[in-house]
C-alpha cells in the first residue's frame, strides 16, 4: 500500500541556498497546529542518469519513482541526483529543489527532507554535491536506479555510501553488469543490496527446508543443475546459479542457465544428482520443491512486497548480506 503524504512543501532552490530553504520550510511547518517530528535515519542518495526536458520541473522527479513510499517506511534525507551525462557543464548543478513531505496521523506526524539536484557536471565533481548535501553523521545508502550495464557505477560516488542498493531485474546484459560490479564484490568496498535477490528468498528457504528434511543438500557437489527462466528473469536465474555455486563450493559443472517457456513461473530449476531429481519452481506465489520419491511438494510462500517496501527493507538491514556476496563472487569468477 502506498504511503499517504499528509502534506508536501516544495520549492525550487539553488545549490547555495538548499540548507536555508529547507530550514525555512521547517519553520513554516512548525507554525502548524500539528506537531511534526523531523524523521531521518539515514541519507538516501538516488542516482538517475537522465536527459530531462529543459523546462522540466525538478519536483516531477518525485513522482517518477516510489520515493515517498520508500522514505515513509525508512525515513531518510532523500537526495535525488539527476545526472545528465550527455552534456558536461562545469557550472552545474543547474537546477535544484527542496521539499518536506509529511506522513502519518496527526498524533504521530513526521516529516522527511527531500532534495533534488539536476546536474551535468563532470563525474569527478559529483561527490562534492553529495558531500555538501548529505548529513555526515548518518549512514548513507546509494540507490542506483539505472541498469549497471548501461550506466556503469561511478566509483567515487558509490563509495561515499555504506550501502549500494540496486535492482538486478533491470539488467539487460547480466555479464556486463557483473563486470561493472566486480570491483565492489572483490574488494568489499560497500555493502551490496540487490532488491531482486529478495525474490529468491522463498526459493532459498525451500531448498534449506528440503535439505533439512533429507539431511543432505538438494544441490550437492557434482549435481547437474538446469535453471530455466522466463525471458525477463535472466538476472534472477543467474543470481540463483551463483547462490548454488557458492553453496556447493565450486562445483565442477556450473548450472546451466537458459531462457525457456516457464509458464507463470519466473524460474524452473531441475537438479539431478546420482539417482535423485528435484524440481523447484519460483513464481509470484512462492517456491515449490518437488522431489522424486518424496511425499507432497514443499511450498514456501512469496511475501507480498512492493518495490518501495523491498528497498526500504534493504535500507534497514544496512549490513553485508554474506549469501548475496558469496553468490556474486561466484558469478564474477564465472563471467
Amino acid at each position: 500500500m502506498a504511503a499517504a503524504v499528509a502534506e508536501r512543501l516544495f520549492r525550487t532552490s539553488s545549490a547555495d541556498s538548499i540548507d536555508a530553504d529547507l530550514a525555512a520550510l521547517w519553520r513554516e511547518l512548525a507554525q502548524r497546529d500539528v506537531p511534526i517530528a523531523r524523521a531521518v535515519m539515514s541519507n538516501l542518495v538516488v542516482f538517475r542518469d537522465r536527459v530531462a526536458a529543459p523546462d522540466a520541473h525538478v519536483e516531477a522527479v518525485m513522482t517518477d519513482l516510489p520515493l515517498d513510499d520508500v522514505v515513509a517506511r525508512h525515513p531518510s534525507r532523500l537526495i535525488v541526483l539527476e545526472h545528465e551525462s550527455g552534456r558536461e557543464e562545469p557550472d552545474a548543478p543547474f537546477a535544484s529543489g527542496v521539499g518536506i513531505a509529511t506522513f502519518g496521523p496527526e498524533s504521530a506526524r513526521y516529516g522527511i527532507e527531500q532534495i533534488v539536484v539536476r546536474a551535468a557536471c563532470t563525474e569527478a565533481s559529483l561527490p562534492s554535491i553529495v558531500r555538501r548535501l548529505a548529513r555526515g553523521d548518518l549512514p548513507t545508502s546509494v540507490w542506483w536506479t539505472e541498469d549497471l550495464a548501461a550506466v556503469p557505477l561511478l566509483e567515487s560516488l558509490v563509495t561515499m555510501g555504506r550501502q549500494l542498493v540496486y535492482d538486478s531485474r533491470d539488467w539487460r546484459d547480466v555479464g556486463a553488469a557483473l563486470r561493472v560490479l566486480a570491483p565492489f564484490v572483490e574488494e568489499h568496498r560497500v555493502d551490496l543490496a540487490d532488491v531482486n535477490w529478495r525474490r529468491l528468498g522463498p526459493l532459498r528457504r525451500a531448498l534449506e527446508h528440503a535439505a533439512s528434511e533429507t539431511g543432505k543438500p538438494v544441490a550437492a557437489a557434482g549435481a547437474r543443475v538446469r535453471i530455466a527462466h522466463h525471458r525477463d528473469e535472466a538476472s534472477l536465474a543467474w543470481l540463483l546459479a551463483g547462490a548454488l555455486m557458492a553453496a556447493a563450493k565450486r562445483p565442477a559443472t556450473p548450472p546451466h542457465v537458459e531462457a525457456a517457456e516457464t509458464g507463470d513461473a519466473a524460474l524452473v530449476v531441475t537438479i539431478e544428482h546420482e539417482t535423485e531429481r528435484a524440481t523447484i519452481t519460483l513464481s509470484s506465489a512462492g517456491a515449490t520443491v518437488e522431489r522424486a520419491r518424496a511425499g507432497s511438494p514443499l511450498v514456501v510462500s512469496m511475501p507480498l512486497e512492493s518495490e518501495a517496501e523491498a528497498v526500504a527493507a534493504e535500507l534497514r538491514l544496512l549490513s553485508q548480506d554474506a549469501d548475496l556476496h558469496a553468490a556474486l563472487a561466484a558469478l564474477v569468477r564465472l563471467f
Binding site: A15, R27, R38, S128, D137, R316
Partner: protein
C-alpha cells in the same frame, strides 16, 4: 545611549552590525533613547548613511525590511566624517554627539565599536582618551555615564602583539569596560552548551574521562579566502580560527560547573581550561598538529581554484587554510581524553559541530561481532547551520530479529521553536548595552590562548617543507585522517 561605530561605513557594519541593531529594534529590545553614529573617513550625510544602512539591512537582515519599522529605526542613524589623525580629528564626532544627546535628552552613555583593522585599535583608543570621550569606570560611580568599548578579533597576531593591544586599551579603559567579541560565543547553540550541561541531569555526569572516549570540534567553511587574502596571508587558520573560536568552544564544553552565572565566574572557569591545556611544542607539534592548504577541486559540483591561485595570495604561500589538532586537557575531569579540533576553508560545507563520543559498551551481547560493531553514543551539538543537538543511540529495528540500528534523538531550533534564531551580533550587542560581559573574552583568556598557540607557530616558523594539500570540497588532507586514526578513531563526517 549612543553606539558609535568606528568603521561605520565598512563591511562589518553593512553586513552585521546595522542589520543586528535593526533586528533588535524590530524585536523591541533597544533602549528607548538610542542613537547609532557611524564614523568614517568618507564624507557622507546622515541620509546617505541611512541609505547605506537600508541596503545592508535589505540584503543581510534576518528579518525582512519593514517600511514602518525602518522609518523609526532610520531616525536613530547618523554619520560623522572624522579621523583619528591629528589633535582635533575627532572634534566633529564630539560636536555631533553633543548635539544628538542634547536634542534627544540622552544620558551620555556610550558604546564605542571598533569595526576597524586591529592596527587602528590603539590609535583610536588613544584618540578617544585625548578627546576626553572616556572616563575610567569605577565601582564607586555606578550612576555616572558609562563608556564601553567593543573590539573585534583578531586581537594581535601573536602573544606580544595581543599584549600590546590590550595594554593600549587598558591605558584608557578599565577591563570591565572592554568587550572583546568572539561572535561564535553569541550563537544560540553555544550559549545552549551551558544550559544543556547544567540544566539537565543526564549529561553532566557523563562529561568526564570515565565516560567520554573523545571529543571533536569542527568548524568547516565552504568559502575560500575570497577578498580576505591580504589579511589571511598574515594569519592562517591557526590564528584565524583555532586561537579564538575553537579554543573558546573547547572551553565552553569542558569548563567546570560555575557556582553562578556571573560573567567573571564563568570566565574564570574558561580560563582554568585554557591554562590546563597540555602544551604542544617542538617535535610534539608534528605529532599532534596537521596543517594544509586547499588545492583546486569542486564545491557543490563547481570547480574552484586552489589557495595559491587565489587573487592576492602568494603563489609560493605556506599559509595554512586547514588545521587539525589533538589536544589534551590535563585536569582531573578530562585526563587522558583526546580532543580533536579541525577547521578549514573550502571544506564540503559550512558546518560547525561539537561532538562528544562516549565510550563503547563492552564487546558482548549486541556489540560482540567484530564485523558489526555498534555505533558509539555521540552527543552532537550543531552550532551552524540547523542549530540544535542530537544524541545518537542504538535501537532495535522493528521486526522478528533483534537488530540494533543507530537512531537519533534530535532537537532542532528551527522546527521546535518555529522562528529564526537571533544572529550572534544581536545577542552580543544587547549584552554590551546591558553591561553583561559573560560572552566576551577577558584579557587573561585571550593571552592564555595565545600563550598556548605560540609554540606551534614558533615551530612552524622554523620549517620550510611544502605544506600538504587537500582538494577543495574534501574534508582535509590524509594527514589529518592519520592523526585521528592512529588512536582507532575517525573524523565524524558532517
Amino acid at each position: 545611549m549612543t553606539i558609535v561605530i568606528f568603521g561605520g561605513n565598512g563591511d562589518l557594519a553593512h553586513r552585521k552590525l546595522l542589520p543586528a541593531l535593526y533586528n533588535l529594534h524590530v524585536d523591541g529590545l533597544l533602549p528607548p533613547r538610542l542613537a547609532i553614529v557611524g564614523v568614517g573617513r568618507k564624507e557622507m550625510t546622515d541620509d546617505a548613511y541611512r541609505d547605506f544602512a537600508k541596503e545592508g539591512i535589505g540584503k543581510f537582515s534576518r528579518r525582512p525590511l519593514d517600511e514602518q519599522a525602518w522609518g523609526a529605526f532610520s531616525k536613530m542613524l547618523f554619520f560623522v566624517n572624522a579621523s583619528i589623525d591629528g589633535e582635533s580629528g575627532l572634534a566633529p564626532l564630539g560636536a555631533k554627539l553633543d548635539t544628538i544627546e542634547h536634542e534627544g535628552g540622552m544620558k551620555s552613555d556610550r558604546i564605542y565599536y571598533l569595526a576597524v583593522p586591529p592596527t587602528l585599535f590603539a590609535p583610536t583608543v588613544r584618540q578617544l582618551a585625548r578627546s576626553r570621550f572616556v572616563a575610567r569606570e569605577t565601582a564607586a560611580d555606578a550612576d555616572a555615564p558609562f563608556a564601553r568599548i567593543i573590539i573585534e578579533k583578531p586581537i594581535g597576531r601573536d602573544l606580544d602583539s595581543a599584549r600590546a593591544i590590550n595594554d593600549a586599551i587598558a591605558e584608557v579603559f578599565d577591563e570591565r569596560q572592554i568587550y572583546r567579541i568572539d561572535h561564535y560565543l553569541g550563537k544560540e547553540t553555544v550559549q545552549n552548551i551551558l544550559v544543556m550541561r547544567f540544566a539537565n541531569s543526564i549529561f553532566e555526569p557523563l562529561f568526564n574521562q570515565k565516560y567520554v572516549d573523545h571529543v571533536q570540534i569542527t568548524v568547516a567553511e565552504e568559502e575560500g579566502v575570497g577578498t580576505r587574502a591580504g589579511y589571511y596571508e598574515q594569519a592562517g587558520a591557526l590564528r584565524d580560527m583555532i586561537q579564538n573560536h575553537l579554543l573558546q568552544l573547547l572551553a565552553m564544553v569542558t569548563l567546570e560547573p560555575p557556582h553562578a552565572l556571573d560573567a567573571d565566574v564563568i570566565r574564570d572557569e574558561k580560563l582554568e581550561v585554557l591554562q590546563s591545556l597540555r602544551p604542544i611544542a617542538g617535535d610534539d607539534v608534528d605529532a599532534n598538529v596537521v596543517r594544509a592548504s586547499y588545492a583546486a577541486g569542486f564545491i557543490t559540483g563547481k570547480p574552484v581554484v586552489g589557495y595559491r591561485q587565489e587573487q592576492g595570495v602568494d603563489p609560493n604561500s605556506r599559509v595554512e587554510t586547514f588545521v587539525a589538532l589533538r589536544i589534551f586537557i590535563d585536569n582531573w575531569r578530562w585526563a587522558g581524553v583526546p580532543f580533536f579540533l579541525r577547521t578549514g576553508k573550502r571544506l564540503p560545507k559550512r558546518a560547525s559541530e561539537i561532538s562528544v563520543q562516549l565510550k563503547e559498551v563492552p564487546p558482548i551481547l549486541f556489540n560482540a561481532r567484530p564485523d558489526a560493531r555498534l555505533d558509539p553514543n555521540v552527543l552532537s551539538i550543531r552550532i551552524q547551520p540547523d542549530e540544535g543537538f542530537s544524541f545518537g543511540i542504538s535501537s532495535k529495528l522493528p521486526g522478528p530479529d533483534v537488530r540494533p540500528y543507530p537512531v537519533k534523538m534530535d532537537f532542532h531550533y528551527g522546527s521546535t521553536f518555529g522562528a529564526t534564531t537571533p544572529e550572534a551580533y544581536e545577542r552580543l550587542l544587547l549584552d554590551v548595552m546591558h553591561g553583561d560581559a559573560t560572552l566576551f573574552m577577558r584579557r587573561d583568556a585571550v593571552e592564555a590562548a595565545w600563550r598556548w598557540v605560540m609554540p606551534i607557530l614558533d615551530h612552524w616558523s622554523r620549517q620550510n617543507a611544502a605544506l600538504p594539500t587537500y582538494p577543495a570540497g574534501d574534508w582535509g588532507p590524509a594527514e589529518a585522517d592519520r592523526l585521528i586514526e592512529a588512536g582507532g578513531r575517525r573524523w565524524r563526517p558532517l
